[in-house]
Symmetry: C2
Subunit: 488 residues, 2 copies
Amino acid sequence: MPDSIRQSPLYPIINPDSIVFFGASNRFTAMGTNQLNSLLSSGFGGKIYPIHPKETRVLDLKAYPRVRELPEVPDLAVLVLPTHIVPEAMEDCGKQGIKHAIVVSGGFKEVGGKGVELEKKLVMVADRYGMRFLGPNCLGVANPHHNYNVTFLPFEGRQGFIGLASQSGSLITQMFGYLSRFGLGFSSGISVGNEANVDIVDCLKYLAACPHTRVIGLYVETIRRGREFIDLARSIVPHKPIVAFYVGGSEAGKRAGLSHTGALAGPDALYEGVFRQSGVIRAYSIPELFDYCWVLGICPRPAGNRVIVQTHSGGPGAAAADACGRAGLELPSLSEKTLAKIAPMVPPTGSVNNPIDVTFSKNPLDFFDAIPDALLGDEQTDGLLAYFLTPGQSIRRTMTGMGIAEEEIPRLTEKLLDDQSRTMAGLIQKHQKPLVGFTFQSHQDLSIQKLLQYGIPVLPSPERASRAMAALVRYSCMLDKIRSQSLK
Amino acid sequence: MPDSIRQSPLYPIINPDSIVFFGASNRFTAMGTNQLNSLLSSGFGGKIYPIHPKETRVLDLKAYPRVRELPEVPDLAVLVLPTHIVPEAMEDCGKQGIKHAIVVSGGFKEVGGKGVELEKKLVMVADRYGMRFLGPNCLGVANPHHNYNVTFLPFEGRQGFIGLASQSGSLITQMFGYLSRFGLGFSSGISVGNEANVDIVDCLKYLAACPHTRVIGLYVETIRRGREFIDLARSIVPHKPIVAFYVGGSEAGKRAGLSHTGALAGPDALYEGVFRQSGVIRAYSIPELFDYCWVLGICPRPAGNRVIVQTHSGGPGAAAADACGRAGLELPSLSEKTLAKIAPMVPPTGSVNNPIDVTFSKNPLDFFDAIPDALLGDEQTDGLLAYFLTPGQSIRRTMTGMGIAEEEIPRLTEKLLDDQSRTMAGLIQKHQKPLVGFTFQSHQDLSIQKLLQYGIPVLPSPERASRAMAALVRYSCMLDKIRSQSLK
């Protein structure tokens, strides 16, 4: 495990207090302008110095014609310039003692030919001045805990616990909204681009030490320092889970990676081996990458693979059971003791086999309280999958039927949903076992929002919930193995 | 292929003009009350006769104590009664000449023991009077084209083209909102329950003849008439695609099916064989079932498996390419002719390899017009996958930058999105090749809504889009095979 986060070359890149910005102008369609706009709208509290050859003000900030005219040596340079002038601008920065940079500009190694030469030149310049830089051909960084987003899109998310290092900038900047819809966010998102200087191994080191990061996600097209990656990941995994999505396992994916970041992808089995050796949990799609980060970041660790499915709908329950089976989870029967507790709460049309299907239950509140309490309390249970369906319309209909005044319904509905979500979240704490929900409802529905708010992960399908639970189990098994080895 | 839809025993069950309703009351928590409420709120235009032993009015409808006192012989009886009195109520219906029923009540074969006997009795009663019925242990039917929803949840969806026959009622009633978020809906959704009388084979026949149904979806826990299923499906597939999701392939799934609908699941390979023989496209999750129905229902048929990925974001593009590779699709290079058309529109930092990555494109409108026009026009292309990202915030920022007045922005944004979606949809028509979109944005975002509105499917991840495109290709191949065989 690395020690201090401040030792990382990425620290000033991810937490700068002052930035010199190349390539922004008052031309609103320019990429650089957009990125500076993102930075401004993220509420960044540090100094920003735009460099512009002609304009004296850029986006209402005082602009400077040259780096050497800045009033201080900034922590970081951000370059969104035409490719051919990037090395020169870096040289200017180096001369002024700037030690860190983000090179957004593309047109380097990933386009081949002259680009390869230009990238070499860029690296030489940086080395000459002892500079460390992210990129080129990257989208920068977002650190919501520092009110700092220098990527292309405005930040529309929240502070979170997922630290992502990505060979795709889009997977940072275009996921703000996606994650936010699930109540999630980045601790930091780092777009590494062509990794000419700082690479994904450096990011791993930084994120391992980052106090906001509870789980590390990787979008990988290639790993350039294999040995270092494996050794480092192995040292991190006992403390923080790492999830990786690898693109390049198929012939088409390999070609795509090459033109994207100049990545030389290896055969799928090679990467599978790297991940296995290093204890990295592998995800097989982009949504799965974030699903796994989600549950690994907030769920207690299951002691084993015995899972109970709790549902009031047969089909979603059966689909979850089937998906659990395919994902290598076991669905045990309930113990006699638990059965005795559960049976009175399940109508005769339901089922107390696993899945526990309460169907049209006697007391809907049991579903969030007494039933999961009994199930999580069973010694033969390591985790619970629960199907959620509480459509607003039905609650409204029930309350109207109870004679509750129309204007009272929204408040009472919110209170009901709040109470039951809090109760359920309390059970996770009490039993220290994972509970992973799933639903087909919109995650914007208040009933789901409340669950998310109390830290209950709710995935958008039984299959995704089952696979996420299996990822939790895989991580637990790995921890057990590591611990038993270190005891020997 | 069956002839007239009216010959189907399901016709009066799915399109009734008059209904006698057992089991609804003025007690708002009762399941029957909820189902009658759903029916009332669906805007059903036919007659409804509640049966109630004591109440004279139920939910503001005139109630009758007995069937024989009804003023007419209704098309359909809906029974939401305690299990033990169901056979008797059926007998009453039979005596009065009612020929069709939906038995919602559970507690039959699926609970074993006495339930098995009760189900036999129910079947005998129906046979005696020549009655056909859906269920027991089902959730009924939704036919939005008839303003008719008798399932538990209120209808919050739209008329659509997906005909679903499901051994899970939840997969009908709980998917209204899910489908609606994608701009989709059911032509008819049929919950078959225990299939004591009408079964999934009968549903296939009905849906094959249903003019609103463009694609048939099946949620399957067991197939009770294997031979008939295969023969019938084979006759339907050349005219209408069938997609099936099978639960029961794993040990856990099998057990879940048994307690759910008394289904005896077979080994996965057996069902795989049945689907293959019958030309049914198999889906491996519930979302995938609807993804496949979506694209098969609205896309032109691809001539082969050569797909181009169009993106402005490297990572999502590479992920799509990789997923295409894994799904058996080919990603050809562009022809010289197409390359010449495309190159001027792609900046040097982009890529004209496949994926076509326009990065930060020169003219954003090209992405919806000239570029897909050229790509779909390429003779070596059978279909296009396109990544969509048009966040409202960016459009707003650009328009603000152009000096457009704040109050004009919403209208102009809508016009812009409308124009580009219409243009793109026109290209699908022009080239008669499938275009499948994907995005990580919310489907409620106006930019995605507009694409959906013009009939462009937009899936929630590159992997799902790629697999859906592969399903389209699989169906096309099957059609080709069938045609070549019938020519022999």
